[in-house]
Symmetry: C4
Subunit: 236 residues, 4 copies
């Protein structure tokens, strides 16, 4: 079957067609959010969506029919995404359109479908397995660091800027923007104490926040090595 097999000529063409359709549906979804769309634009967008949803629905039904274990497919990660990609359309028709606008945001998950068709993800799964524990530890460390940074800056800046640093929850926003080095400039320390504290937070924090990227990179390098050795064995 075309939907299952992505090594044959026909399967590949089908895959590229679906990928193109996902891209088109995402672009039309984005255009829909413009506040001042003309009636003609809205009609074109609706027809585009109708077409996409029809194909996606047909694909979904086919996949369920073809699957050896239909229930397993339906409740799998990709099965749920496939369903989420078409469900909002049918719900919109049943319930009031404006109230259901919120559900529409789930259509963005169709973007994940693009990933599905890529076999090179195999190495990433190996790499993910290697760094899983370290990543969790770093997320916990990052969370603690952000909390400590927020508490500290609240202590230093609350009196000088009671509007911006009015509670630890407000300071958390500063901690996130600072430790990730985004620094929008909407909130920053103005007292000497707060600035010195920021210096120490950044010197320690940048190390902690950017280490995971390095870990992922080295894990991918190792996964590539393992994958190459595996390929070598299969050839011999």
């Amino acid at each position: 079957m075309l939907v299952e097999d992505n090594t044959s000529e026909g399967g590949k063409v089908f895959d590229y067609f679906i990928q193109g359709l996902i891209l088109i549906s995402l672009i039309s979804f984005s255009i829909e959010t413009f506040p001042d769309n003309s009636f003609e634009t809205k009609q074109v967008l609706f027809i585009t969506e109708l077409f996409c949803v029809t194909i996606f629905s047909a694909e979904y039904i086919l996949r369920v029919a073809v699957a050896k274990n239909p229930l397993k497919y339906i409740f799998s990660f990709y099965g749920m995404i496939d369903l989420l990609a078409i469900l909002p359309f049918y719900l919109n028709a049943a319930i009031d359109l404006r109230a259901a606008r919120v559900f529409r945001v789930f259509r963005i998950f169709t973007a994940l479908k693009l990933i599905r068709y890529n076999r090179a993800l195999h190495r990433f799964h190996i790499a993910a397995g290697i760094v899983k524990e370290e990543m969790i530890l770093f997320f916990i460390t990052t969370a603690i660091l952000i909390f400590l940074a927020a508490s500290g800056i609240y202590f230093f800046e609350n009196e000088a800027q009671p509007e911006l640093f009015c509670s630890i929850f407000h300071s958390l926003w500063w901690a996130v923007a600072t430790l990730t080095t985004v620094g929008y400039g909407d909130i920053f320390p103005i007292t000497p104490g707060g600035k010195v504290f920021t210096f120490f937070v950044l010197i320690i924090g940048i190390g902690v926040v950017t280490v995971p990227a390095g870990l992922v990179a080295s894990a991918i390098a190792k996964a590539r090595k393992l994958d190459d050795e595996e390929q070598q064995k299969l050839k011999n």
Copy 2:
């Protein structure tokens, strides 16, 4: 004993209970900082804190009683944190509440307790040992670089922006925000000389400031390798 042993079933349940309590106490600590809490909220927060401090105090006394060398525990890093987590509450009761609000900030150290219970930290300790020397060198280099950057920008920008770059100490804040690439936008060069100087500072500085993260990542990769080999030996 439950407090000491974290491999048995009961020990694990106890650990998760304490971790949950720390989280609750941190959230209640954060909510307390809101400037406009109602009387009801304040009461709920006080009761929450009373409960947490009671448990933490009982845990602390138990740990001291159970320890083979009570003094060693009391003056250990975690012993100090355990004490700091409960002390502000008792001090608040003895001294005037408002004056002691400053001590309360130490309760954020309870967040560090979360780390205590995590065994995977072992590898991080190995990695820390590997990169210790380089990290110190990089911190010194970073400090020198920040000082040189601040002195240089003071020289270029002092005349054009005497308010912002009014001394090297004020310029240090610019150097920190720039070399860490946070760039809040509250202070930046406007003269051509200052901009060219910033270019060179950044090209050199980014390398220096972000290298420690790479060093930590590669040290963790090596620590994982050493740890795996150790585990392998123990099995054979």
Copy 3:
């Protein structure tokens, strides 16, 4: 021939001369963009350009004449750049000067000529081959992530800031500036939901966006190793 050979004494002198000329032509191109150049400046710039284009044209004709397969050179990557570096000048003379100002921007491609003469690029080509697949995957992942981030923030911030987050396309600009941690500060979330969303986007996103740099670095380290082994073999 001098233009082809860059190992002989004469070839090296010729190469450095051409590189110097490219630098001069780029600086003169940049000065031309000043809005208030005097007539004298404009004349000096025109003479500089005339000189550069004359040399570049002579070099181009020589390269075509010397090449074993002239058509292959003309349609090669560097052949196209060599042509693009001189073409705008001749087009300017034929068509109205002001309308052709747009073509002038292509002269910036002469900067790429600088790369041409560098032999150390060999390792980079090896490294590029190693990480090619991962890079494509990361670009796709980055694109999906930016789209998801833009859709999400649109959902959270559209009502609070309809001017800035007026569609997903406008939110994309926020997603790009935030995930790359540039954070200009022209657009940022103000609602609590948007800020919490930004936190999660950044924690996940920084890893994804900065991993490619780590991959390139480790690939270059491996390419250096392969290159060293190759050199070793040639010596034995």
Copy 4:
């Protein structure tokens, strides 16, 4: 001699004393830049400087006298820095104090003296040798990228923001602040074309600009390995 030998007990004490003096002299230099120092402060600063320069001068004379080849020491990198650290003081006494204020900025070089006394720099020298070529290539690539980015953004934004992007030289400032992800927020694109261009510049540019840090990190890891092997050999 104490000044030469940093392995004996006395030599170590002397080194720490000099390092402390450098720190004190740098802090006093920074305090001097405050625009509103009182007369008392200025006197204390002058006495501090007098003391530091006296010691540094004595140390310099001793080093020249002790050196096997005095001229070699005088014209060495550290010899020049040692001289630069004391020269401004004597020049200030001879020439008008206010005119010589500019020379005073050279005193910041005393910070480099701190590096001198650190033996662990050896590995960094090895690492520097390993990545030298790649670093130069990356600096060239970065320079080309910044130039291309500046030219491109000038083309897109010049008409919309003629004040900010008034020439390629002005756009270079934007390119530097953006590619290093500092993003002060004083200059950024507002046209859709400029924003899309910024997206591509950042996706490509972040890789290029942050790779050197990864290269340095992996080179240091390799240098550590080589250094360990060397130490191992010396023991056997």
